[in-house]
Symmetry: C2
Subunit: 767 residues, 2 copies
């Protein structure tokens, strides 16, 4: 595996030269998506070498078998997995009867480019077949942001050194399997195959979950840019439809196939109308035409970049990386559909099965809040609101009562669908992240109405969970939370994880505080909620009692909160004293050894200090950073960003930059030798946070936007934009100072390095 | 399921009347075995109703797939399972062309009896077929103790109300599957089918593990007790051989089939000689003849009972139960082969897959030591000695060095083969049980030579493990053992489990102490061992340091050792305050709730106090019993016996009896609704201990045998025998007093209620 083959470029991801060992990695890195669907950068034509074929539709999953050694009560019944959807991109090519297969031809001038500014994937190469005939191929492919049920391909072929017969065989195929296969189980049942002139449709449904999907294609041709019509033979098999177009081409002529394809699915249409919907949308695409679709695609991406872009000057790899991260986040989720969410691998792979983790609440929401309209973050909150009943059911299964809710660790539809007890049963801090996200949203957007309308129901249910989950320790004369797993998953079944206890107490307090506000100012909503949730005085008293008497592990000697009870009993040898040969420990050590070690997979106490930075003074934060950072191995992609932000906060800009580097090009440079499995989508939001909240120092505690911009010495300058309560503020930082530009109509008060500044509309302020 | 259908009887297990709902339970309860092989009490003839077919050969296993959600480093690669062996008992019967099938006939006078005195299984019934024809069937079956590759069946049939054609079809079949199937995987490959006159053989081997087994049968006939010869047709299929014998029978005539069958296997013979060995052994059985084989069987069992029997007067169910337990233990393991061990389900079922647990060292060895020659216990120790290299390999996989050994939690061949990390990686106390068993053996038998010859190598390797596994806590200024699971498996990944820490310290001390003895008195052995194990002064120093500075969790306030760090943070609500509807908690509660509860599945601190009773005063033991017993749910079959023994020790005879009842008839009365899966063999040793060490108060600390006999008020009297250093001592206890009879040639000093008594040869002493 070549870990360093992506060509640095400010706006594009570029691969030059054909290297088979990079195929599966590139399939991940060059993935495209439009929020509703996405696909790995598989070739259109046959490829007989090592490849990981993947195309995914937002929201469509399958309940996989749970595999466990010994069943334990309360285990989820299934493990949801993202499902490999039917293939609509396929185009087989024969040249004088010989198949074009890059695994068996000689390949010259291979270049692949993912233009992130436009959201378009380009590929070109010259292939020489066994008989010496050379063809030049150019492909352009994108998934339309505008019409999100459609993708388009332009596939051009030019005989370089011969004249001969070229055959195009575009096809759609629902006979696909998952890479992570389910003991040869098939997921898709084919219901109907339908053929029209130059177009074909396959209606299929998923077993068990009964999602219906119509996969369609519609093809057109051009010879030297002139549209032509061609006769064809169709081949309908059990699970696929292919059309065979043959033509004789003269040397230097260019023959082009336009293929429009994609999916319509039952989350958006009536099942019985899916084929019709597919016909309509492909017709629409064809009428608009490939060139105009491309124009619209460019415009759509231009709009996204307008607020989302971060410019870094003086470091093209950093520039490329941050844009790659922002680009992939937007390919995964655009925020228009509250039934969708952000899977850790987005539409780029299958690992981690289920779609939604607490990553969304902890990392992604701040990114979407700042770079898009507030409705996007609201949709992400609503996703959880609509799952509340299932979270209550989940808690009930585990013995909780009275409408307490435990949100799942991993989910597709609101049900828990991960199958390690030490995670699903014990990593309960994720329940707090649901409330933190509400707080974060209200605080940032000032849209308090979310709480009476939706948030309070969730807050009460989660607060009830914490109240019941805490138990009273006579020995400590405090409430304790026993048997949990914190964000640091290199611990299991620990007692009094500081982060969890802190979050629990905070959740209750925030809930009770807002109940008071509702009681005072939104009495109609208040009454409705009290009645719907059966909230009583005894609920209130019990919650208050737990919050007031919550226990927090603390070391007087070290002056730090302890990650959990007994943490100081470990051998606290700093990570940098471990032999390199023993790292990463998750590959080199047995699990029990990891568990009893002090090593931290992912920010844990520091995650809490990051969330609640306003409650702690900088010295405290610094002391905790100095205690925990040397023990942190950052073997989760979600870890370095938090450490980077805190390092910036405490003016350790070099450390912040070191941490930033570990997140920014994680996938592009394939640090962990696993990019072929897909990209780390959710951690990409962490990279954005490292710049905006880290170097930029953006905060929004107590309702005022503040900045403390710093800049790593490796960069000349950087700038980003923030969408804040209707204002768009551009922040620029170089080694001379900062500039703030208000790109909107209304003035905005901000704090810069603690000093109040008013930035008027269209004004640029230099500091 | 009828839980109370076994007829009370002092020497037999009896079932009367035919009840289909009891079939699978009876198949377990009436199981027979001879230490080398065993089988469930399946019918010889076809049974089309619900049945669990099982026949097992000692030592033969198969590596099953490990099923996990997420793989963790260090997981064992497979999960060994006991393997269902080919069927040799099958005899199909046709009556006037109609198959005899108890599921479809009317059945009268059904009786089944397992005669435990003789080791023979009897069955008789009258079956009425659809045409009204009635036949009387008598069967006798046993697995020979004497010739342990052979079983014998006498199957007699008498037409009651008709004359007609009877067909016997004895067969052998290697096409069997496991009940707990491996995704339809086949375990046996058929190599050769061979037929002789009235005899047949199938040579097969296990996939992967390559055990070779020859299954054989040899049949003979009698008409009204006179041997006859019959013509037959043979039917050889892919995996089975059947012979068809037909005869016309007059009303009242009795037609009898004798079937000798069984296995020869590659652990005992050359692979290429297995068929020959099978032919020879079946010929031998046939020459001896059925009646004489039965006589030998009775003699063999008489010899077993001579020292093993416990007589209980005044309580026939208790009498039946204790004999059932002793009987089943002897059916499972007779102690002649150090490659075999005692599986939790013996030869009665497949659950728990692997064969050997720490149950052997903790519970079974004392039973075998007292009821058999010392070589039997020695063989059980040697089993582990021969696995030492694999235990060292296992520890190495987990990061241990320098020849440290971690014995597996579950094993068939010395390799770890269970697949829950919280057990295999963390339930390390089993490593200490290996050394405790050596101590126990040497202490009881006075055979110190075991230590220089074998034991010390194991002791050094285990002591090295403990030394490395403990880590120094600066906070406590002590060595701690983090991340373990104690005997109480309702806790996971706890720190400083008192039992584990105590055992670790003791193991090191016992090892160093014995090293000193070897250095002084066995210097040649000492030098050999030092050199073989590379034991150095720094080993010695490191071990000593850990043992001296071991930490033990203790509560000053409660005055008790704590099961683990933080135990007092739990809500210590006694078990009897839990609603009945919530028990057993392992069926009613989710796993996380169990983990954070204080409830104890199985004696943990008390297990330690039981092992090391001599190191604690009675008051301490009493205080710990009073603290832990109310929190113990005894949801392991291995728990109540320890509590029973301790309750006797502290003069709580009613409590001891209550605990005793929970173990004694566990399977006969099917307390846990699971007897159909097989019997709880290893816990049966616990029942024996409850009487001998519990009520009888037998101890052997400091080399002198002592007794403090008590008797539950529900019994009139009880007696047991003890084989101790060449002496056989009989202990009798009734409500008037105790009697001790020395049945051997040499006098013996004992303590009775703390007073020294000399029991001379053949003398009876009343106290």
């Amino acid at each position: 595996m070549n870990q360093n083959y992506i060509i640095p470029n400010e706006w594009s991801i570029i691969e030059e030269g054909f290297h088979k060992e990079n195929i599966t990695a590139s399939e991940s890195i060059f993935s495209i998506g439009n929020g509703a669907m996405g696909q790995r950068a598989n070739f259109e034509e046959t490829y007989s070498g090592d490849t990981f074929q993947g195309s995914y539709i937002g929201g469509i999953y399958y309940p996989d078998k749970t595999r466990v050694g010994w069943w334990k009560n309360g285990y989820p019944e299934y493990f949801a997995k993202v499902l490999n959807a039917p293939n609509w991109i396929g185009i087989n090519v024969n040249i004088n009867g010989h198949p074009l297969d890059l695994n068996t031809c000689k390949v010259f001038n291979f270049e692949r480019e993912l233009d992130m500014k436009e959201g378009i994937l380009y590929r070109s190469f010259i292939a020489e077949l066994a008989d010496g005939n050379q063809v030049k191929i150019n492909t352009i492919r994108f998934l339309s942001i505008d019409i999100n049920e459609v993708g388009a391909i332009k596939y051009s072929i030019t005989p370089v050194n011969f004249s001969g017969e070229i055959e195009f065989i575009p096809y759609i195929d629902a006979g696909i399997v998952n890479d992570d296969s389910n003991y040869d189980e098939f997921f898709w049942k084919i219901l109907q195959l339908e053929e029209g002139k130059n177009e074909a449709y396959i209606l299929s449904k998923t077993y068990k979950t009964d999602f219906h999907v119509c996969t369609g294609m519609k093809v057109e041709f051009a010879l030297n840019e002139n549209k032509i019509d061609l006769p064809y033979e169709s081949e309908i098999k059990e699970k696929s439809i292919a059309f065979k177009y043959k033509t004789h081409l003269k040397q230097g002529d260019t023959f082009t196939l336009f293929k429009y394809g994609g999916y319509t699915q039952s989350m958006n249409h009536l099942k019985e109308k899916l084929i019709f919907a597919s016909e309509k949308v492909l017709q629409k695409a064809s009428i608009i035409g490939f060139d105009d679709l491309i124009q619209k695609q460019k415009q759509a991406w231009a709009k996204i970049w307008e607020t989302a872009d971060i410019v870094i000057e003086g470091d093209v790899k950093a520039q490329q990386a941050i844009r790659f991260n922002i680009f992939q986040l937007n390919q995964t989720y655009l925020g228009e559909d509250s039934r969708l969410n952000i899977g850790p691998k987005g539409f780029t792979g299958e690992k981690y099965g289920g779609s939604t983790y607490w990553d969304t609440e902890a990392y992604c929401i701040p990114f979407y809040m700042s770079t898009k309209d507030k409705d996007v973050a609201k949709n992400l909150l609503l996703y959880r609101y609509y799952h509340l009943n299932k979270a209550i059911e989940n808690a009930k299964k585990l013995g909780f009562k009275n409408g307490a809710a435990l949100y799942p660790m991993v989910t597709m539809n609101g049900e828990e669908c991960h199958n390690e007890w030490e995670i699903t049963f014990e990593e309960i801090h994720r329940n707090g992240a649901m409330i933190y996200a509400i707080y974060n949203y209200v605080n940032y957007t000032n849209d308090f109405s979310y709480i009476p309308q939706y948030g309070m129901e969730v807050m009460i249910a989660v607060a009830r969970f914490w109240q019941q989950r805490a138990t009273f320790s006579k020995a400590k004369n405090k409430y304790v939370i026993l048997g949990v797993t914190g964000p640091n998953e290199y611990e299991n079944n620990v007692n009094n994880n500081w982060y969890t206890n802190y979050l629990a107490k905070w959740c209750i307090e925030y809930t009770l505080e807002n109940l008071q506000i509702l009681n005072n100012d939104y009495s109609e909503d208040y009454q409705k909620i009290i009645s719907k949730t059966n909230f009583s005085q005894s609920d209130f008293d019990a919650m208050k009692e737990v919050a007031e008497k919550m226990y927090f592990p603390y070391s007087e000697e070290k002056g730090v909160f302890l990650q959990q009870d007994g943490f100081l009993d470990k051998e606290l040898i700093p990570v940098d004293q471990l032999p390199k040969s023993e790292r990463p420990i998750n590959q080199k050590w047995s699990w029990d050894r990891i568990l009893r070690s002090p090593y931290i997979k992912q920010a844990d106490v520091l995650q809490g200090l990051y969330f609640f930075e306003n409650k702690f003074d900088t010295k405290t934060i610094e002391e905790h950073f100095d205690f925990y950072e040397p023990l942190t191995v950052h073997e989760s992609s979600l870890s370095p960003c938090v450490h980077s932000i805190i390092a910036s906060k405490i003016n350790r800009i070099d450390k912040a930059y070191e941490m930033y580097l570990r997140t920014a090009r994680l996938d592009l440079d394939d640090y962990n030798h696993e990019v072929h499995e897909g990209l780390h989508i959710t951690s990409m939001a962490g990279t954005w946070l490292s710049i905006v909240q880290g170097f930029g120092g953006m905060r929004n505690f107590e309702g005022i936007l503040s900045f403390s911009p710093q800049i790593p010495k490796e960069w000349k300058a950087y700038s980003f934009k923030i969408n804040f309560r209707g204002t768009t503020l551009k922040v620029f930082k170089d080694h001379k100072g900062s500039r703030f530009t208000n790109e909107s109509d209304t003035p905005i008060d901000i704090l810069v390095h603690g000093k109040k500044v008013i930035v008027n509309s269209e004004e640029l302020i230099e500091i």
